[in-house]
């Protein structure tokens, strides 16, 4: 009896699944609240998206909770009258990982989540409910004491990087609290998905959500739109080629990050060598698809750039050269006392903290959390070429973030070689991209598409109306969760350790701000 009552509260899909909106039960907020609370008791569950959109006179809420053991995504939904003074009891009060989702809903629709501990706007979106809140007048947390001082950095930083503001509350050299202010990068991406209607426009947009994750976000979009158009048949050849693109992106970004971290350590040799190794990595992308960031590679339904025999050989050759050069330099870095002392026990966070904030991807794995969609909700080639993802790194400090990159680089090299072997075994041909006219998007559906990008979990969700037009598009970059990890790392740390910590996370500003 219990289970029948239970299942009437939600409906479950798999990753990149599509479901008719009418098949999602709409439950009362108290039922919703209780069910989310009980699901989130289970360590294997985490919320991958919780958002709202107006549908006539109601505000419809969609909450997707993924289970890492059975690869199921439970969809819960409730509806509320769409009015300004709507008040709901906050989930964040008990499940902290919901803080960003509820703040986003508060910002966008003026909903008041009662007892939410931090009602700060997420990104000062152009279409926010309250325009009296602007990015330049936000009241930061303060501590009143004549012995403490504040340090403000940004939005424009010293280097050639994206904008964000960091406000440190300091006791001498020690940081008591770091508050991160984001939103400077807001371009209205989700609105543009609805506004610009051609498949190509939406694909190009996906590539520029966070262009250092062009392949990751474009893959999430391609899988979403294919599922939404009912293209069920998977093409293994195409999936392998897309997955090679994803792993190459991971390789390029991880090696670039190691270079940047060496700059943070003032270790010139490491910075130059890892930096030089990034060049052939992204040059391979250019050889393959003409763009060093993999733009143009991922297209719905197929590809313009099949990975033929010559390109496969070039990839193997590149990997061999890369591996040799990487190994010597990595061995040197991880045995260098002056580098280690700047990484070990610096900016430490715990597994419990990362579970609390709902960290994903690398920020979770460097504390020993096994959060990896390639393993738990496999897609693309990960469906049939298994990617084992036990994290051998658990310490949660700067060293762990560097060491995890080294481990993932080594694993990516092996995995890429396996994919090439699979590819030559199939000996097929990837189809051409699907033509706009042949794409019939299903009416009245919700699709959820998740991809493990190099930073972590990317989640795209979209809803269509009864004519098959996309009326709502929701993007979640892993940085949406992980910025809080950086703030936690800085507690009780010397402020001079901020740059190395920031580089060790390398989170996305534009992916967060959208």
């Amino acid at each position: 009896m219990e289970s029948t009552i239970d299942t009437s509260l939600y409906v479950a899909i798999k990753n990149q699944g599509t479901i008719r909106l009418n098949d999602i039960p709409v439950i009362s907020y108290s039922e919703f609240y209780a069910k989310v609370m009980s699901l989130m008791q289970n360590d294997q569950n985490h919320c991958v998206t919780y958002h709202a959109f107006p549908q006539g006179k109601v505000l419809k809420f969609i909450c997707c909770i993924a289970n890492d053991l059975d690869a199921e995504i439970k969809i819960l939904s409730h509806e509320q009258p769409f009015k300004r003074d709507l008040q709901l009891m906050s989930i964040t009060k008990n499940v902290y990982a919901f803080h960003g989702y509820e703040r986003e809903i508060m910002e966008n629709f003026g909903v008041d989540f009662l007892s939410h501990p931090w009602k700060k706007p997420v990104r000062y979106a152009f279409n926010r409910a309250d325009h009296s809140k602007v990015i330049n007048n936000y009241p930061f947390y303060k501590i009143t004491s004549s012995e403490l001082h504040e340090v403000g950095v940004g939005p424009i930083h010293a280097g050639v990087i994206e904008p964000g503001h960091f406000r440190f509350l300091c006791n001498g050299e020690t940081v008591l609290h770091l508050e991160i202010q984001l939103g400077w990068q807001h371009r209205g991406v989700e609105d543009t998905y609805v506004r610009k209607k051609t498949l190509l426009q939406r694909t190009v947009l996906s590539e520029s959500i966070a262009a250092d994750t062009a392949v990751g976000h474009a893959s999430a979009f391609a899988y979403l739109i294919e599922s939404m158009a009912g293209l069920q048949k998977k093409n293994d050849q195409l999936d392998i080629e897309r997955t090679i693109g994803l792993e190459l992106e991971r390789l390029a970004m991880h090696i670039g990050d190691l270079s940047n971290m060496c700059i943070g350590l003032a270790y010139q040799l490491g910075a130059a060598v890892f930096g030089a190794l990034r060049t052939p990595t992204i040059n391979y992308s250019q050889l393959w698809c003409g763009n060093r960031f993999g733009k143009g590679l991922i297209r719905a339904g197929g590809t313009h750039y099949p990975l033929g025999k010559e390109l496969q050989d070039a990839l193997l050759k590149f990997l061999e050269n890369f591996e040799g050069r990487f190994k010597t330099m990595a061995a040197k870095l991880f045995a260098l006392p002056s580098a280690l002392m700047r990484m070990e026990n610096i900016g430490k966070v715990t597994k419990t903290q990362m579970e609390l904030i709902g960290a994903v991807g690398m920020a979770a794995r460097m504390t020993g959390m096994a959060r990896d969609l390639r393993h738990s909700h496999p897609f693309g080639a990960y469906r049939f070429v298994k990617y084992e993802s036990p994290s051998p790194v658990t310490t949660g400090d700067v060293w762990a973030r560097a060491a995890l990159r080294k481990v993932e680089i080594e694993k990516s090299i092996l995995y890429l070689r396996r994919l090439i072997r699979e590819l030559s075994a199939i000996d097929g041909q990837s189809p051409k991209p699907i033509a706009e006219n042949n794409l019939k998007i299903l009416p009245g559906v919700l699709t959820v598409s998740m991809v493990e990008g190099w930073r972590g979990e990317i989640c795209h969700a979209a809803v269509t109306d009864d004519k098959g037009e996309i009326i709502h598009y929701k993007v979640k970059d892993p940085s949406f969760h992980n910025w809080m990890a950086l703030a936690l790392s800085l507690r009780d740390l010397e402020i001079s350790d901020f740059p190395i910590n920031n580089k060790s996370y390398n989170l996305s500003y534009c992916g967060h701000d959208l």
């Binding site: 424009i156 990087i161 400077w184 807001h186 060049t279 250019q286 733009k295 061995a331």
Partner: protein
Amino acid sequence: MILDELRIFKQHGKQFIPDVTKPVLPGPFKGRPEITLERVDEEALASVCPTGAISKAPVSVDLGKCVMCGECAFAFPSKIKFTKDYKIATNVRENLIIKAGDLEPVNLDESRIRREIQTLFGRSLKLREISAAGANADEGELNACGNVNFDMGRFGIEFLASPRHCDGIVITGPISENMAEAVQICYDAIPDPKLIILVGTDAISGGIHSGSKALQRSFLEKYPVDLYVPGNPPHPLTFVNGVLELIRKR
């Protein structure tokens, strides 16, 4: 052990590109397009473009709007092809519009280069980069300009932190409303005379984000732009060659 370092040096050898004006880029790199005079369904051709960069009668491609997706060349291969010419930066906005039959390289208009640029910045140009909602590809390539391969520092071109020490700003990204004030403050903090360089399609026209209400681009209406560096993102060689052309002695 010093032997480790020697081994690393040996493995890597010399990495820099000796002459940055010469390299031929590998793969299907998309640089300056060439458009033939062939008759095609221009309406259909223009409608392919995701950013409205293609105009009709005569057919032209505006590199300031083009996101280099290459879909027009896939759809009309005999009408448009993208060459590997990466020297596409210019100081005149109209020069970014490539018309049918136009086979000339993209040039700078010398008469419109301010004299102080050559006299003051010819051997040392320090720039303040502002990412104004840039998506981190343009920024990544600008960082690459200073790496051991492209090494633009050898020409005296460098990105610095303080605007007070700089000779101009480089803007990437479509300029969000939330960044508009910061862009203005940074520009004001740079001593005269100063340059403005726009890098990437997003900065030049808004790119795929054009028309978004989250953008605030009025800064660009106030001041003349000294160099447009198109691309999505521009290749480091596009930026380095463009800036060298701008500041070289004439």
